[in-house]
């Protein structure tokens, strides 16, 4: 029988374009210390550390957990480094939850970070190597054709992406840790930003951020030290190959399968009704309606209606990314964990100005690679 697992501490850095005030070690410590403080815990009490980040070439340090071991208080302890492309922040939290669910450890620090200013992500993504197709367009260029396919097949109006881009930036104004603070942003501001990869304009895209996010996960008996733990109801991970004939890249089966397993294990039959708030990995605006469908919040080709009707807005019936999401802060490796942590903050009633009233059940979601790696969890305020 699996042990229960709960989030009892969350910590984030202030995310920004260039955190030149801290080293990588300083950045991860900033998040870890806040999580420890939130959990009312000391370094000594941590049994193990699970760290995740996206490609090492994004900073130019190979397996950086080795040099970060000291800063993470891991000396003499087990430390693991997870890497599952853009979903890594979510996968890392899930691997940490396995250590608790499996009864291997009682108190685990999990952390994800990216310090994009140390190198250049789009350069790292553009390297030509033998045996592989060159990806010379960066992430936006890769995903734009998939978005065009979505628009064509769903018949979504052109301004859905713009609505998401505005909504998430306005939400970010409620989040003190968010990177972008775009007071007064309107649909016009987005539409006047330069076209990068049709239909994605500059403001349809996520920023490049430095940042870290940490959580303390524990077994049931260690939850007593905090007032409101977030119980991990269920987790799910799925992967599928990046290319093969007939693959649906708009709504990948790996995402649908992961969501189905997630809801089954969490005892959720109607996600739109039973989940109060969702933090979903939306690095390009159009991915909000696409993931609404993939996650089962909307029927096929109807996700855009949720955005259009305001259902995903902060005061909608299914608020998506009240924190401002990846569109407002994107330390890539940490972006997935921030989704997971924000979900936990919501059910703990800790989200401050972006708290969704009465949130009891929340979804955290991340994806990566060519829309092929999925990690998600459902957390709740009541013990499962």
């Amino acid at each position: 029988m699996a042990e229960r697992c709960a989030v009892i501490g969350v910590g984030q850095t202030k995310h920004g374009a260039k955190r030149t005030d801290v080293s990588m070690a300083g950045l991860v410590r900033e998040a870890a210390l806040r999580a420890l403080e939130d959990a009312d815990m000391t370094w000594k009490e941590i049994d193990a550390v699970v760290i995740g980040k996206a490609p090492d070439m994004f900073e130019g340090v190979m397996m950086p957990e080795l040099f970060l071991a000291d800063a993470l208080g891991a000396v003499g302890k087990p430390i693991m480094r997870v890497h599952t492309a853009g979903s890594v922040g979510g996968s890392t939290a899930i691997v940490a939850s396995h250590l608790i669910h499996g009864g291997v450890f009682e108190r685990v620090l999990t952390l994800a970070y990216q310090k994009q200013s140390e190198s250049e992500a789009t350069w790292a993504l553009t390297i030509r190597i033998p045996f592989s197709l060159p990806l010379v367009a960066g992430a936006g260029g890769y995903f734009a054709p998939t978005i065009r396919q979505y628009i064509k097949r769903s018949g979504a109006p052109d301004d859905i992406g713009t609505m998401v881009a505005v909504k998430d930036r306005l939400n970010a104004l409620r989040n003190p840790y968010a990177h972008l603070r775009m007071e007064g942003i309107t649909a016009e501001t987005v539409k006047q930003s330069p076209m990068l990869w049709d239909p994605l304009r500059y403001l349809d895209a996520c920023p490049s951020s430095d940042g870290a996010c940490a959580m303390i996960l524990t077994d049931e008996k260690n939850t007593a030290r905090v007032k409101s733990p977030a119980w991990v109801f269920a987790t799910a991970m799925r992967s599928e190959p990046i290319t093969f004939p007939g693959r649906d890249e708009v709504s990948p089966r790996a995402g649908r399968d992961a969501a189905a397993e997630l809801y089954r294990e969490a005892g959720i039959t109607n996600p739109r009704q039973e989940i109060d708030v969702a933090e979903v990995y939306v690095p390009f605006s159009w991915y909000e309606p696409m993931w609404m469908e993939n996650l089962g919040f909307a029927a096929k080709n109807e996700g855009w209606k949720m955005t259009a009707e305001g259902a995903t807005a902060f005061d909608g019936d299914m608020p998506v990314n009240p924190s401002g999401g990846v569109l407002s802060s994107n330390p890539i490796g940490a972006s997935g964990m921030i989704r997971f942590a924000e979900a936990a903050m919501q059910v703990r009633g800790q989200a401050g100005e972006h708290q969704v009233d009465g949130a009891k059940v929340a979804l955290g979601h991340a994806y990566g690679g060519g829309s092929q790696y999925f990690a998600m969890w459902v957390v709740g305020s009541e013990r499962n």
Binding site: D56, M57, P241, G369
Partner: protein, 351 residues
């Protein structure tokens, strides 16, 4: 803890440069062989986890293509560590503890030949204070060897003895890359690579891959005559700063071995991931492995060192001794980081 065992192991031969094949092409037959040996239908594998490193291939997301070797359709429960495959095995073992899935595929792969691993590994040092000095992997290992020779009464003859035995053992291992019959004196006539290490004290540059299938409880018993039951597995890390460590010792290996329950019985065979000859001595001392323990019957990482797979191969080689009936209690070890910074110990037994 739930009973979990190694039920199948496969590896590619390690070669200096597998120029004709991509990582996926090296992996595909290895994974197929491991799954075939396990007797489990591929679709029934409950969890998959791999270990690899982008810096070997020189490209981000180098593990993504490897999914093609697994056959991830319908989509699978899968994860990846930017570590040796031994840690992927640890993650899979943890996953199997939860109890809802009963089997896992684990693999590790590395084409070290894509670059010069001696220099590439500099990128894993502290980027602010150490890496700019560009101390390469062999130079750092030599520092450690020097620390050992000056602290514990060992001599260069002892290093040569480690090399003689591993090269001889490799003669019986068709997957080893280098082998041979040598005398200590003969080896000691060779020039230094970086004093006190000679070329034969250092690992070869290898391309290769390995895969293991784990199964829990009754499933393991059903698919394998003599499963190698994992009775303890643990890993620990030390400080990164070389100046903060006593390089002649390995407290993290000692602690991992203790937590893995090494003292709860005799060990017949230990496969130690010691890419440099002196590291085998340090690890034996840390884990207090006496002369009664057979060390590295495969020839070890001194004779085949596909980075990111070499640690997993140690676990596979040790498990094979249990599965083929030649040993009862064995130990597989993996290391990561400069000068044995991080160590994993996996104790396996016959039942």
């Amino acid at each position: 803890m739930r009973d979990v065992a190694v039920v199948a192991f496969a590896q590619s031969p390690s070669v200096r440069q597998d120029a004709e094949r991509s990582e996926v092409e090296i992996l595909t037959p290895v994974i197929a062989e491991a799954i075939d040996r396990s007797g489990l239908p591929r679709r029934d594998i409950g969890f998959t986890c791999s270990g690899s490193c982008d810096y070997l291939a020189g490209v981000p997301f180098s593990f993504v293509q490897a999914l093609d070797a697994v056959g991830a359709w319908p989509p699978i429960r899968e994860s990846h560590v930017e570590m040796d495959g031994a840690w992927a095995l640890y993650e899979a073992w943890v996953r199997l503890q939860i109890g809802d899935v009963d089997s896992a595929l684990v693999y590790g792969f590395g084409k070290s030949s894509a670059g010069d691993p001696r220099d590439v590994s500099v990128a894993q040092l502290d980027p602010y204070y150490v890496a700019p000095l560009w101390p390469d992997a062999v130079s750092l290992a030599a520092l450690q060897a020097r620390a050992l020779l000056e602290s514990d009464g060992y001599t260069e003859r002892d290093l040569a003895a480690v090399v003689v035995r591993n090269l001889r053992n490799a003669g019986a291992n068709p997957n080893a890359q280098v082998q041979g019959e040598f005398e200590q004196d003969e080896l000691l006539e060779a020039p230094y690579e970086v004093s006190p290490l000679r070329k034969h004290d250092c690992p070869p540059v290898s391309d290769g891959a390995a895969a293991i299938v784990l199964a829990a409880g009754d499933l393991a018993r059903a698919v394998c005559e003599r499963p190698a039951w994992i009775t303890g597995i643990d890993h620990r890390i030390e400080a990164h700063s070389l100046g903060a460590r006593d390089l002649a010792k390995s407290p993290s290996a000692a602690l991992a071995a203790e937590k893995a329950g090494i003292r709860r019985g005799l060990v017949d065979v230990a496969e130690l991931h010691a890419p440099f000859s002196h590291q085998e001595i340090i690890l034996r001392e840390a884990m207090r492995l006496g002369d009664d323990v057979t060390i590295n019957p495969s020839g070890g990482a001194l004779t085949a060192n596909p980075i990111m797979a070499a640690g997993l191969i140690r676990i596979g080689e040790a498990a094979t001794r249990v599965m083929d009936g030649s040993a009862t209690r064995v130990l597989g070890h993996a290391t990561s980081g400069p000068c044995l910074q991080q160590n994993l110990v996996c104790v396996m037994e016959a039942r």
